[in-house]
Symmetry: C2
């Protein structure tokens, strides 16, 4: 019996698929930009390329949300043509007779890092992706935690500035309005910084530009507040942070840690740690595979 | 075989015990003020009075935290003589041969309301006690969720004012610094209100005093922000609020609901509801009993 699992990571920007071994090793993978039309055909095509006739023991799917894990459907915000799209059933049709699991991409990122990445020491952790938006997922007691509908872990929508900017979620002052890359760029631009994107903003911060430094300080503080809230409520001992903005390293992590030093005061949070993600773009695929073949909790 | 369970609710102010039937009915109960010396003797005495020779099927304990549910020990902040006190083992010695379960009092309040109170419609909910402090607990997938150490659900320490007042937890700007009864009184007193306590503050608010009204508005807003964060991260559909400050009814609940209308924008939170707790001081006892005899999740 093979231990290979098909992993699919469906996002608004790209669709990735991989064959993943029982140890979390990516045997082969492929990806394609997400088209707005014939979207399912693109998934089937990339899956067909990585399967290439190989038998698999199951399939795991990470999808941009919202998802409905009970129904097996997905309604990704950035793919308007998919609303309650039956992604689990469709993928199952490509691998008949084996179990197929679906979870949100944030949950899969956290699970991937917990299984094979920076979170291997923890059974209660949150994974964050700080990028264009701020996403995340929870691993509780060693298991992926999707919550009532599969959408738990949306740490990017913890409110950190009650009177802050409107957010795409319909709320205001969410972490994402402060720490999402484009929002950091907007904030800095409104204060006289000149540059194109978050990568340029990072370069300016490294060069000592005070506005760029303040943008990272502010973003890290917001991320730290959201981690403190999540760790207090869910009793966690680890946050793993990945995504493009987190590539800025200590520019982001230093203010995150300062915020935690100030705001994570409860005794059971004394061991709370924050680490950079290590799996990069593969975390979603590895976590999707872990839905099927990852270790069961003790 | 009896379905009676011994329930113990150990708090910094009072110790309560009860015999609880299989339907969550409190058959008889007793309570005593928590003494700072010979504290265990007081527990044993009140337990002996409610047991009165009766056989029980098990015992459930709700305790003020922090708790360590793996070790079965408790270290209640307001009882300095108990540090890592082996409460589970001690209670077990009073009811030999039956299972004994321990959880934090916030978890038990939530579980009690979910089993027999205002939360019966929900399998993913948070219970809050807004009183001197702001405590809470989570029921996830129909089960009590204690997290890594048993202390999950500390919603009172979600930060709602990043530059706010110092909190007893060591952080600052936590919900508790805004919505805890004595903190509301301090805030109003500093703005010219004259009165003794949160009950007087409620009366003033009902009489239209603008400072008292603002204190409740501010407290409800803070509680609403913390519920929004918790519901987004844990994917909940219900918050049940009890405790002395919540007795003020719509004075607190209206601003809670306004905060949620502004800040709980994610699509999967569209059905999020907030309700007053109905079990009052019995919630901890009923929830403690539910640790042993409550319904198992579907």
């Amino acid at each position: 019996m093979t231990d290979l699992v098909l992993a699919v990571d469906f996002g608004g920007t790209k669709i990735a698929a991989a064959l993943v071994g029982g140890a979390g090793d990516v045997v082969r993978s492929a990806q394609v930009a997400t088209p707005q039309v014939d979207t399912w055909d693109a998934v089937a095509d990339v899956v067909g390329r990585v399967l290439d006739g190989e038998q698999v023991a199951g399939a795991g799917i990470a999808s941009a949300g919202p998802v409905d894990t009970a129904a097996g459907t997905v309604s990704p915000i950035n793919v308007p043509s998919w609303r309650e799209f039956p992604l689990r059933e469709r993928v199952a049709s490509l691998v008949p007779g084996v179990p197929v699991e679906l979870a949100g991409d944030g949950v899969c990122m956290a699970l991937g890092e917990q299984w094979r990445g920076a979170g291997q020491s923890s059974r209660f952790m949150v994974g964050l992706v700080v990028s264009t938006g701020v996403g995340g997922g929870l691993v509780l007691d060693g298991r992926p935690f999707g919550g009532r509908t599969g959408n738990a872990g949306h740490i990017g929508h913890v409110v950190v500035e009650p009177d802050g900017e409107p957010c795409t979620c319909g709320g205001r002052g969410c972490v994402e309005t402060v720490a999402g890359g484009p929002r950091m760029v907007s904030w800095a631009s409104a204060r006289g910084w000149r540059g194109a994107d978050a990568i340029a903003l990072e370069a300016s911060a490294r060069a000592g530009d005070p506005v760029a430094l303040a943008a990272f300080e502010r973003a890290g503080h917001a991320v730290g507040l959201a981690i403190a809230a999540t760790a207090a409520v869910c009793d966690l001992d680890l946050a793993v942070i990945g995504g493009g903005v987190a590539q800025a390293g200590e520019l982001l992590f230093d203010p995150v840690r300062r915020a935690l030093a100030t705001h994570a005061g409860l005794s059971y949070l004394s061991t709370l740690d924050v680490r950079p993600a290590v799996l990069g773009g593969r975390a979603g695929l590895v976590g999707a595979a872990a839905l099927v073949s990852g270790p069961r909790p003790a």
